[in-house]
């Protein structure tokens, strides 16, 4: 949806960063470290993918971070609920808890999308409100403390541990791959599969085409018979469900769900989407861009960690490099335009 050459900017910046880190940092390019980066990126990548759908429609979803918190505590509560454990067993509880987390995220997304589409309230305001409310709800559910490890005296201690382990097999599991000593992290696999699916939906389906059309020109789309409200509702539901799934993976990984989980995740996700070439003005963006943007942030964090850079400096460096990545993209677009102008003169 953007000029082909202009899309190369951020992937090139990512490649350059990987190259520099590979030269500077021993062990950076090792399979173990690269899979670690993918694991650390997967939560943000999944959320950024959902946000990309919303941002292409010229919307925004600030609530995803709080949704991670709310969906996470609901997942953890379901996972360790005595009733669920007795009826479904530890494995079944993990499945039910996962579905609860995704459904909770989708529900907040539907609420966001419904208010945006039907009542015409600005997405920034709507999702700012749900961001605040969802965080409050997460704290209300848990009384402010994380849900997870049972007390040693808990009569269901064994089963709760088994349920936490079952979900951990997804959130923290690794699939054995020859040549990879620790295997390939499951969340990274989930992210890659979702990005591929997201790309398919955006490029090849009617819904995806309508998402771009609504973001590119809402009035023209409406007059062309596009169900603008339904399309918007769909993107917010996808975004919310994505955040819910991210929460499930996070609970699995940590074996607990905390009400304060996911703080500021919305900003990381929006940053990843925008770095990946999605325009906040709508109409432009790709699923692969969201992945590229998330990877760029992940590589940066990992590289600075390995270099032993103090975390305060890391934040500053991250800000600078986010700006540079976007400037690089702008510069590439200009160079591309100049090249085409020269070609036309010959």
């Amino acid at each position: 949806m953007a000029p082909r050459a202009a899309r190369l900017g951020v992937p090139l910046a990512l490649a350059g960063l990987v190259l520099v880190a590979g030269v500077l940092i021993p062990g950076f390019l090792s399979p173990a470290n690269l899979t670690t980066i993918l694991l650390h990126v997967s939560i943000n990548g999944i959320i950024a993918l959902g946000c990309t759908f919303v941002i292409i429609t010229a919307g925004i979803d600030l609530s995803v971070g709080s949704v991670v918190g709310l969906a996470g505590v609901l997942t953890a509560a379901t996972l360790t609920s005595g009733t669920v454990l007795r009826v479904a067993g530890p494995g079944g509880a993990a499945v039910v808890a996962g579905l609860v987390g995704i459904a909770a995220g989708a529900a907040v997304g539907l609420l966001n999308g419904g208010v945006v589409a039907k009542l015409g309230v600005a997405p920034f305001i709507v999702t700012l409100a749900t961001m605040t409310a969802a965080r409050g709800a997460a704290r209300l559910v848990t009384g402010g403390v994380p849900i997870g490890f049972p007390d040693p005296g808990d009569p269901l201690y064994e089963r709760k541990i088994a349920a936490l382990d079952a979900l951990h097999a997804v959130g923290g599991g690794r699939i054995p791959v020859p040549g990879l000593p620790n295997g390939f992290p499951v969340p990274a696999l989930v992210m890659l599969a979702l990005v591929a699916a997201g790309a398919f939906v955006l490029v090849r389906t009617r819904f995806g085409r309508h998402v771009y059309a609504v973001g590119g020109n809402e009035e023209a789309s409406r007059l062309a018979g596009v169900a603008v409200g339904r399309i918007k509702l769909g993107t917010y539901a996808i975004c919310g469900a994505g955040a819910g799934l991210a929460a499930v993976l996070l609970v699995g990984q940590l074996r607990s769900g905390g009400p304060d989980a996911g703080m500021l995740y919305e900003l990381n996700a929006i940053a990843a989407a925008v770095i990946g070439g999605t325009s906040l003005f709508g109409g432009v963006g790709t699923a692969w861009g969201a992945l590229t943007g998330a990877l760029l942030i992940g590589v940066l964090n990992n590289g600075l960690d390995l270099l032993g850079v103090q975390s305060f400096w890391q934040e500053i460096a991250k800000g600078v490099i986010i700006l540079l990545a976007v400037l690089f993209d702008v510069w590439m677009k200009r160079a591309d335009a100049r090249r085409r102008a020269r070609a036309a003169r010959i």
């Binding site: 085409r209 020109n217 009035e219 007059l223 018979g225 335009a337």
Partner: protein, 508 residues
């Protein structure tokens, strides 16, 4: 202004362009063009879309730098690196899309960027007083404290002119200033243009409407494909000659009204339709194979009626019927499903998704036909888009080209291709050829006539009387939100339509 000066060039030109050349990717926008503007005279610039008029204005305004050639102002060579260089030299361009800040008051807009005052403090009284004075000198009767966004287009143009005057403009270029004006407003604007000339200001006037050019211009330059193909006094050439120069061949602005048998039963019927504050008691009927022209001044309520027919806006009185069945669409989506489509007057904001390519725009309204379980069948889509763009003779016939990079006429063809793909029964065109060049206009007229001949019911809204007369089988005239009369094709004349369209006080 009407009698041309005795000698063709009485004095050295205020602005002189010599051999100005400007290239863009894939196109030579200006090819060694000469152009003069004289103090106190109106020089009209005409040509089809893409002929290079806008580029020439941008070069004059300092918004584009020429690749070759020279500019001289008052005999001295100049080089405008940016619009502000041109402004400080007294050269102002008033673009079609006005550049006012809608939230700011008219007087604040006039002084924007050169606010009077000291040490960063605004002298608002001085600004208001001076702005009021200049506006009054231009015949404006609105309060200079009105936010610009609340003013009509004609009033906003006066604000732009006032802005040029307080900057001591020596040359003012007007880019299609009458496109959004009613006849009365156009007359008033021309009066102001003549006053500007009387003050010794040079005026460049760009328009598609030849009769306006004829009324106001002292000299005319015709551009075609970036080259100057005619320049001379307005009195020395007739309309047919101008059109010949513009298109490079003889065209007939043909009456396309086909002589056909008695039309069928009404397909779309509207009875006493009303929408509070916009129009009331509108009744009309459109039959299969018939083109109904909806004439009237800008603001008479034509577009508002059309939007109700297409489900884009609700109505609160009256009823509609489609093929005898009640018809009350709640959205364009419902209207399309019933076979009623609407081609809005503003292609850029309502007709197209400019960032999408031609193919995606053409199939947008009928995407369901190319999707299986929601997945688009790329080949079927490509084939349909190719077929439709061929049918409307899109140039270039490139379905992957971004819609925003096409000329106005070709953009309109893309909108038309989109709706042809829907295979609707009723097509409502709102100003189908606004801002479209003469050759494309003729093609669009033929396409619209072809639709009626194929049995569609067609409504055409147009502010151009020749277009209504060329196309319509029946003319319905609106005035101030009501139908003021209906004329059969045979009895319709420009004068007859105008008499029904003009407000009562003017008609007498």
């Amino acid at each position: 202004m009407t009698p041309p000066a005795p000698s063709p060039t009485p004095a050295p030109p205020l602005l002189a362009l010599r051999a100005v050349t400007k290239r863009f990717p894939g196109v030579v926008a200006l090819d060694a063009v000469d152009f003069d503007a004289h103090a106190g005279r109106v020089h009209a610039l005409v040509g089809e879309n893409g002929a290079g008029k806008s580029t020439l204005l941008k070069v004059v305004a300092g918004a584009e730098r020429p690749d070759a050639g020279t500019l001289a102002l008052g005999g001295a060579p100049v080089s405008f690196g940016a619009p502000r260089d041109a402004l400080s030299a007294g050269v102002t361009v008033m673009y079609q899309e006005l550049s006012l800040v809608p939230q700011l008051r008219a007087d604040a807009n006039i002084f924007l960027g050169m606010e009077p005052g000291r040490h960063g403090l605004l002298d608002r009284h001085a600004a208001a007083a001076r702005a009021g004075e200049v506006l009054r000198s231009l015949g404006a009767d609105f309060d200079p404290a009105t936010p610009a966004g609340d003013l009509s287009v004609a009033e906003q143009q006066l604000v732009e002119l006032a802005r040029a005057l307080v900057r001591d403009a020596r040359l003012i270029a007007l880019d299609e200033p009458t496109a959004a004006l009613s006849l009365v407003e156009t007359d008033r604007l021309f009066e102001q243009v003549r006053r500007l000339c009387a003050r010794g200001i040079a005026v460049i006037f760009v328009s598609h409407r030849l009769e306006e050019v004829r009324r106001i211009a002292d000299e005319i330059t015709v551009l075609r494909d970036g080259r100057r193909v005619f320049a001379g006094p307005a009195a020395g050439i007739d309309d047919a000659g101008l059109i010949r120069h513009m298109v490079g061949r003889d065209v007939e602005y043909a009456r396309l009204r086909a002589a056909r048998g008695a039309p069928g039963d009404p397909l779309l019927e509207v009875r006493s339709l009303g929408s509070r504050g916009r129009f009331s008691d509108v009744s009309l009927a459109v039959r299969r194979g018939e083109i109904v022209g909806l004439a009237g001044l800008v603001g008479a309520g034509r577009t508002e009626v059309a939007r109700c027919l297409a489900g884009a806006d609700p109505h609160d009185a009256g009823a509609m019927a489609l093929a005898g069945a009640p018809y009350r669409p709640a959205s364009p989506r419902e209207a399309i499903a019933r076979g009623v489509v609407f081609l809005p007057e503003d292609r850029k904001t309502q007709g197209l998704v400019l960032g999408m390519n031609v193919r995606e725009n053409v199939t947008l309204a009928a995407l369901g036909r190319f999707a299986r379980r929601g997945v688009i069948r790329a080949r079927a889509e490509r084939e349909a888009a190719t077929r439709q763009t061929r049918a409307v003779e899109l140039r270039p016939p490139d379905i992957e080209r971004e819609a925003g990079t096409l000329s106005g006429g070709n953009q309109q063809k893309v909108v038309l291709a989109k709706w042809l793909l829907v295979d609707a029964d009723v097509l409502i065109f709102d100003e189908p050829t606004r801002g479209v060049d003469v050759a494309a206009k003729v093609e669009l007229h033929q396409l619209i006539r072809g639709l009626a001949d194929a049995g569609k019911a067609v409504v055409v809204i147009s502010s151009e009387l020749p277009e209504i007369l060329a196309l319509a089988d029946r003319v319905v005239v609106m005035r101030e939100g009501r139908v003021s009369g209906e004329l059969p094709a045979a009895g319709a004349t420009a004068e007859g339509i105008l008499a029904l369209a003009l407000p009562a006080s003017h008609a007498a």
